[in-house]
Structure formats: C-alpha cells, structure tokens
Symmetry: D2
Subunit: 326 residues, 4 copies
C-alpha cells in the first residue's frame, strides 16, 4: 500500500496558544514570517492554512503567498475570521443584525478571493458564533435560513472555490446551529451547490459523540461531500485540540482506514492547540501518529479489516488491533 498522504497545518499552530484565562498566550508570539519558518521545520508538512485578516489581507496576500511557496509549502485552506472579533459575538451569517450578516458574507468573499490568488482550493466556513447560549434566545429557523442564504451567496461569488462547512456542537456558543454531521448534510442539501461540501474536525465529531469514521462515510456516501479533514484529539467532551493519537488510538485507526476506503484524497490537516507544548514538535508528533496509523493498517491488511466489518465480529476486531500493536 503506498497511499501518499498530504499533511497541512494552520500556521497558527506555531504561534502562542491562549485560553480564556491566559489571554496573552502560553508561548511566544510570532510574526507570520516566523510561523511560516516554523512550518518548514515540520517533517512531512507540505501545506499550510491561513486565517483571513490574521495572516492575509488585500495588502499582503501576494507577498505571503510568495513567502509560503518559497518555503516549499502550498496553501491548503483559507479560513475567514467570522468568529474572533467582538462584533461576531452574537452571530455572523445568522446574526439578527443585517449589517453584521452582510459584513460576515463580505469577509468570506474576501477570503475566497485571497484563496484564489494563492491557488488554494478551499475556504473553511466555521459558524462558531452562530447559535445561542441561553434558552429562549434563538429563533432557530431564522438562523438556519440566514446561514443557507449566506452560504449560497458566497458560493455564487466564486463557484470555483470549494467551501467546506466545519461543524461543531458548541464553543464559543453553548449551542451552535451547525453542530453535527447530520445537520451539516441538511445544510449542504439546502444549499445544493457542487462546490459546497464539508470538513470533519475529528475533535468536533468526538464532542458530538460521533465516530469520525462513520461521519466521513456518511458525507462521502451521500453526495461525495467530504472535502477536507482536520485532525486532533480530545477527551470526548470538549474541544481540547490535543495532538493526534494522544488519547483515541483505535478510533484514529478506524478513521484513517475509512478515509482510504471512501477514497478521500484531500489534505490531512492538523488543527491542534499546543497550549503548553512546542508547535513544531506537536505538529511533527501528530503527523507521525497518522503515518503510524497508516502503517498499522497495512500491517493488519485492508482485506482482513474488510472481512471483519462484514462479519461485525467485535472480538475479532479487537484482536486484530491488539495483534498489530503488540
């Protein structure tokens, strides 16, 4: 088996990570150039993601693009910032305020344009602020309709750019509208555009009590809609954004197996928050885990796995994992 996996990471991986207590971050603040330099130190990494406004804007897009390509990397995703400023606090596409909705859509269009200028295929729509915190706070239907309409408008702006919906059940809102793989498929069906698909962030799937492998299979089977993958790990109840493989070994194996089986050929991107760790080491270790998972699957044999799935024999499934890692 010689599947070639393409690895990417948001360049912010290498910057100081902050949480709501240590707002200035646990590590060192880097410039964009320093982050790109850091990315080059990660063995196996050939792509990077950038965030609109944080890393690219109308002024610097060509320069940043050049820097990235000079560093031997390509841009795999541009993520518009529609969730990290106070003005998005009560929603972006789903805001009750039409001016905010307009600004958010505009922000996404900008990122689509920057993506195009950087030869990047993918823009990531994460509706983290679109939802609600309290009971009796949201008109669910109005919220959903606005998200559908805004997404269509963005797609039509530059239909050649792939928009990937990144679902997450909560945080920063206690409830996000686009929270599960099923809700994502509903949104995709309503939007109904060939280049609007989904990404799975593994940690978000875990938080939703999903098996990421199953979610990937559903997205592919019902419309070939798995366009992108974000890898990380957590303790299943919160988006801890830990390094890949650190907690859920078997589920990582199952996911990587299914990505091959459903012919996923997109990027294996990292979305980790190495709060107290070095970003280069954290990304390197994460990639090694994905590669190790791949190698273990080869060792087990894809045919053996397919046979086990066909029988549904849980103990044979357990034994094959055990034997492979022993």
């Amino acid at each position: 088996m010689t599947t070639f996996l393409k690895f990417s990471a948001n360049i912010n991986t290498f910057n100081a990570c902050a949480d709501r207590y240590v707002l200035s971050g646990y590590g060192e603040r880097l410039s964009v150039d320093q982050m790109i330099d850091a990315a080059t130190q990660v063995e196996g990494l050939t792509g990077v993601e950038v965030v609109g406004l944080w890393h690219v804007n109308d002024e610097n897009v060509n320069q940043v693009n050049r820097r990235i390509h000079d560093a031997g990397l390509e841009v795999t995703c541009v993520t518009p910032d529609i969730w990290a400023q106070a003005k998005w606090g009560k929603g972006s596409f789903a805001s009750n305020d039409p001016a905010i909705r307009r600004a958010a859509i505009q922000e996404v269009k900008k990122s689509m344009e920057w993506a195009k200028q950087m030869n990047c295929e993918v823009v990531d729509l994460w509706f983290g602020q679109d939802g609600y915190d309290y009971p009796f706070q949201a008109d669910f239907i109005a919220g959903w309709q606005r998200i559908i309409e805004g997404t269509i408008e963005c797609d039509e702006h530059l239909p050649e750019i792939k928009i990937v919906i990144e679902y997450k059940p909560k945080e920063p809102r206690t409830h996000c509208f686009i929270g599960t793989v099923g809700n994502t498929l509903l949104l995709l069906q309503q939007v109904n555009k060939p280049n609007v698909g989904a990404m799975i962030d593994v940690g978000h799937a875990l938080m939703a009590y999903e098996d990421a492998a199953e979610s990937a299979a559903l997205l592919q089977h019902f419309g070939n809609k798995l366009f992108y993958m974000h890898f990380n790990d957590n303790w299943r109840l919160w988006d801890d954004d830990m390094t890949v493989g650190s907690v859920h070994t078997v589920e990582l194996l199952e996911l990587v197996y299914w990505l091959d089986r459903i012919n996923y050929n997109g990027w294996y991107a990292l979305d980790i928050f190495p709060y107290r760790e070095n970003g280069v080491r954290a990304a390197t270790e994460s990639i090694k885990w994905i590669q190790a998972a791949h190698n273990l699957l080869d060792k087990i044999g894809r045919d053996r796995i397919a046979n086990v799935l066909q029988t549904g024999d849980a103990l044979e499934a357990s034994a094959m994992i055990r034997e492979a890692i022993s």
Copy 2:
C-alpha cells in the same frame, strides 16, 4: 389561548419497569387489560400506545382495540418490536443477516396492519439495535442503505400509515445509526415518502446535546416532518426516562412554546420508565407538568416570547421565565 393538547402514553408505563440489574422489574407485572384499566385512571389521558407482539397480535388485535375504545381511549401509535428479542441483538433493518432484515421488515408491516385495524395513524420505527458497540464493527454505509431500503418497503406496504422515525444516539447499542435529528432528516430525505416522518423523544434529544425545541423546529421547517412527540426527562447524559418536568424546567417551556409556534398538532405522548414509582401517578404528574408549562407560557404571553426571540436578549429571556414562576 385555548390550545387543546392530546395526551397519550404507552400502556407499558403502568407495568413493572425493569433494568439490567432488576430483570424481573421493580413493580408489579400487569396483564394488558390491567394496563388499559390503569390508563383510564390518568386524568387527561385520552390515548395509548401499544407494542406489537407485546400487547397486540393477529389473534387479539380486534379484542384489544375494543377494550381500549371501551375504556374511552384511542390508539395513538403502534410500535413494532424490532429491538426487544435476542434475535435483533445485532440489528434489525441493518442486520448483516438478510433473514433477520426480512423478519424485521415483516414485523413492521404487521404492526402497520394492526395500526390500520385499530384506526391508529402512526407506527413508530425505533432502530435501537441498528448500530454498533465496538470500533471496527460496522460497515456504516451498508447499514444505512439497508435502513433506507427497509423503510421504503414498509411505507409502500401501507402508504396511508404514518411511519415515524424515533432517533436515539445510543442504547441498547453504544452507537445507533439514526442517532440525531440531523441524521433523521438525512434518512427522511433518502426515503422521500410523504408519510415517513419523525418523532422526537425529548430524552433522546437531550442525550444528543440537542435543544428539543430546536430539533422540533428543524423537522417542521424542512419538510413538515414532525409527526409525533415523546415526552420525558433525564439528566442529559443518559435516557433516564424520568417524569416530565422533573429536571429541565426551562427547556420544557421552550419546547412547548415551539410546538405551538410550528403548529405541531400531534399527540403529546409520554415515554417514561417509572422504575420505582407508581405508573398512574407518574403519568398524571407528567401531564400536569406539560399543562403547567402551557399555562406559564400563556402567563408570559406568546408575543412577549416572540419579541425576546427576535432580540436574542438572554437576560430578558431569563427574566420572563423568572417572573412567570415567581
């Protein structure tokens, strides 16, 4: 406001409840006739649900129907047993064994026929055994395809009977395929039949970290697919099947409000397991809670609520609840 709510309960509510430790049940075992008698003692209850094979079969269907109607009740739902026998342990519609799939579909068709004979509109499809327990145990795509095909076949058997999909994220399997409102909408879209819709079991929604009010709104907005409601309560992490209103007061209010707002006019059915409580008292108390919720909404005023939803003001939302209950 004079909305008339129709209350129903599974007649099993009045029978001894068992769990995996006390297999013989905590209470007294009753005959079907005794359960029907018990149902008549619940103030406000005008409907009952029955389970196929447990309570009705080819032999007794007319007699049971007569008993129920003589008791002044109507049958609101027939639930085929495709989850309470050892043979369904590895799946019903999604089983790897074609003979089991066939048997399960046959069981559902039978229940549809019994429903028709009893002038009951609704048959409840709960795929509790269709899923998996262990990693690397399931072929997700095969499972989903089989559920889709089986559901279509059932609908075509008697298209005048409403089939309601009852989703639940887990139990008895650790992972059920049809686990969330989003997955349910995906299934409904694939099945694509006017009389195949959904029910929300409030406790199942809570387990899935859904706001049941939001799930109800989605099902109605995207196709008028909310056909039925099961009420109960739990501690949000497991299907504790507690009496209505016992834990989540505010969310009950929000749900009842939205059911009116989206013009839900189906049954308010109870699905509780009063393990250590008297079934008649438990059902009575549950109905009183739903009525109390309704009255509180009237007291607040539906217009005030609509205004709060439009502004998204969490503190005004909180205050209006507080004032109503003070």
Copy 3:
C-alpha cells in the same frame, strides 16, 4: 422565613469577558474604579471579590479598599492569580519546578495579606493549572503532595485568614487534581487546618455530575467545611458560567434549600462570565433568581420539603415544585 442572604460578585463580572477566540473580549474594558462603580449599580449586591495583581497589589491595596468601602461594599474574597499567567501553565503549587511552586505560594501569601488589610476573611485557592492534559504526563502523587504542603504553608502564614479550596474537574487543564467534592474533602483532611475549607462553584459541581446540594451537605456534615459559595449555571458538561437560574431551576431550588438546612451563612457570590451580556444586568438577574428560589421555598414550606425528603417520594417532590411555580 427571613433568612438574610448576602450577595457578592467578582468585580471582573463587569469587565469585558474573553474566550480563546475573542481574546480582546466581547465587551468594554473597564478600570478597577469603573468596575467598582458598576458593582454599586447591582441591586442587592453588598460585597465584591477581587483578584490579586489584577485589582489589588502592595501599592494600591489601601486605596482600592477605601474605594470599595466608600462605594458601600465590602471585600468578601481575594483570589490570588496562580492560573492566569503563562508561567503557571504547567502548574502552580503542583509544578515540577520548585521555583514556580515557591512563586505560587508567595502569590497566595500576598493575597492573604491583602485580604487581611481589606478586612476580608476569605482567600480562594483555585488550582486550575495543577493537573495534566495528556496521558502519561503527570506524577499524581507528587502533585497531590505538593498541593497539600503548599496549602499548609499558606495557612500557617496567616492562620486567621480562611482559605477556601475551589474544586473543578477540568479547564484550563483537561484534568485538574482537585476536581470533585470528594477529592476536596481528601485534601482538607490531609491539610487538617481549621481555617482551610472549601467553596462550591455550582457550575464546577454540575460539570462533575454532582448535585451541588449534596456536595454542600457533605462538606458541612464532614467537618463544617463549606466556607463559601460561587453561583452560576451551565449546560452540565462545561463551565459555561451562565447567569444563575438560566438552565437548572429545580437544582437551584434544591441547593438553596440545603444551604439553609445545613446552616450555611456565608456569602452568595456570583461567578459568571456574561460574555455577550451586560455585567450589571447579568448580576442583577442572577441575584433575583436566587431570591426567587428562596421565595419559592418559603411558598412550598420548609416542613413540606423535609417531609418529602424523609419519604423519598419523587412524585411528591415533583408535584411540590410544579405547584409552587404554577
């Protein structure tokens, strides 16, 4: 019933709240003076908490104290900052680095001195950074021993100041050593000092699947160790720090009932993060909810409640709540 409840709030309640996405905060940044002014606008609020270094230090302690008292408030708690700077990222009292441990203990002693200078009885020890994120990262025993020793040292520095241990199962670490009421009682027993006790943060208890009322009863029954209370609410899985009463109505009632029953006579302090709400309104609404809960208990009658607890009749318990709020 004329229990007089004393309400307090951290003055930071009135400042902009930030999360890991919106690091600059959702609202307006205020000076300490402005926060104190804001506190005076909250009806019923007579106390405030301050954070060491953030609000008080050696230079300004007298001045801040005067400002607070001039505003008609008293200082109810000083919380040393041993969790909001990058240097505490891998632990404070439990750090592997003796210099960090020393610095953390020193920070606590400082806050104890400031508390004394401000006539404040209580210092809050929250070991948010003392734990671990990853498997195989922590020597649990070393960590616990260091926390025990550091706490003893602090107590002996100024034994007249009450130290309250604030437990929390996770965040900012994925696992905190002092995470549950049981672990807290273990720590208190090991420390074994009359003025070292506990506080319950209601949201932390909810996250730990505790019933806060039960936790309060345990702390009081086993040594009169409930010294302080932090009120807020959440969705049971994360420390959402929502306004009091917004989600868990019945559990709030049960908690307030038990606080009286066990003769808790400390402060009813708010620990909320009104990210997208106005702090003065959020605090006001929270206090009104606690008062409303109190009034509902009076309406039900403490004797009736005591009787229900003695019988353990869940349906009578449910009915008494329902009747009170109807």
Copy 4:
C-alpha cells in the same frame, strides 16, 4: 520484567447478558456448573468471582467451592446481591426503611461467611441502589451515615474478610452516593477499618471522568486502600462494560503502569458484559489485552516512563507510546 498477573472474572461473564430491553438476555442461560466449566476454557484465568444468592447460598456453598477448586480455580471475590432485587430498589444500606437496611446488612454478612468458607479474601460492596433518581428525593446526610454505619457493622462481623467498596457515579440510580474515588476515600476514612478498602472498576472511573491510573494512585497513597481491580472499557459516558482494551488503549497502558508502580498485587478481575459476544472469547481477549499492555510497558521501559512523568513532557509521552505500538 516478570510481574505475574493473576486474572479473575465473575462467572456470570459466561452467562447470557440482558439489558432493559432484552430482559431474557442476548445469549444462552447457563447453570452454575456450566459457567464454571466455561471459566476453565479461558486461557490465563485462575480465579472467579461469584454473586451471593445467584451462585452461592448456605446450601450449596461447599459444593460450589469444591466444583470451583476442582476446576483449578480459586474464588477471588464474593459479591452480595444488594442491588438486583426489587426490594433494594430504593436503597440497601441507605434505605429509609430500617427493615431493608437490616436485610441488606444481613445479606452482606452472609456473603462474608460464604467467602470465608471458600477461602476467599474479598467481598465486594457495591451500593448501586443507594442514591437517588430525582431532585428533592434524598436526605444525603442520612444516606451517608447509614452507609458508614452499615459498613462498620459488616466489617466487625468478620474483620478478617476484606470489604472492598466499588464506587460508581450512576446506574441503576441516576445518582449514587458512593460515586467517585474521592467519595470512596471519604467513606473509608469515616469507616476507618484496616480491612475496608476499595476496588476500582475501570469503567466506573471513566464514567466519572477519572483517569483510573490517578484514582489507583490516590487510593494507594492515602492509606494503601486499593484492594481489588475490575477491568472493562466503555465510551466514557456510560458503563458499557465492554472488553478490555477495545476503546481506551493509552489509558489502559497508563493504568497498568501505575498498578505496578504502586505495588498493587491484587487480582486483575474482569467485569464485562459481553451482551452479543461469546463470554469465553470476550474474557480471553480481555486478558490478552492486559498482557499486551504489560508487554508494551516492558518494551518502552519503566525507567523511560518514570523519566517522562518527571518531566511532564506530553509530546515525549505521546512519542513513547507511538513508538511502542508501531
């Protein structure tokens, strides 16, 4: 490294498992003799647990003992049934009914006697029914006091028998009094008897968001109180009682490492519910996983692990696991 691990399993492992839906069980019902025979087919198994009344009673204790020893096994634990009959539904030791409390204590004393007659050191006290389901249902303090007193009385009946407290946060009650490792340590301290200690059921610890390795370390460090271990696995939110190693690989490694480090030399007992699996195969696979974990630890080297724990380097921790299983 040549640690010799002693494996045990409840003989019920080999009997049909039931849940609240399939009350008659998914598999085949066996006689006690057949269960003992099944146990002999599990490679590496040298001990068995029995349940009082289910498997042993005054009449058959000698005969069952002989059968077990003739089969080459020893009895490692007797578990009194104070949770599987309707009469225990509202509590055993903590029941409001003094007659029930008396009966429960009597039941435990019986099991202690049977244990003694079978040369078994350990009796397992699991207070599964002692807690509450609903808010305002329990007098927490009365409940705890009764558990303390009952446990003391049992210990004094036969002080030479080790009583192990098996904590679990919920099920069958929605809240159990003795739910966490911290609460267990509190109980042990109140009981204060040398032969009253604890067991950790790994799945119960996972449900409580505990790291079982940490819980084991705490029990040993604070009084050498870890007397027994129950192994299984689950999805972290419910007591799924799955085979060992099926989900949480890394945490299993960490636990097994710490059991050695703290000199645990008790039994490695299985407490699994192989609902849809063959019991002999499920037990065999579980033992192989524990052995595989042990071998992996040897491969990594205990010194390397100790060093990593001392530095707290999460990425080195991750790398050492990855390298071992690759």
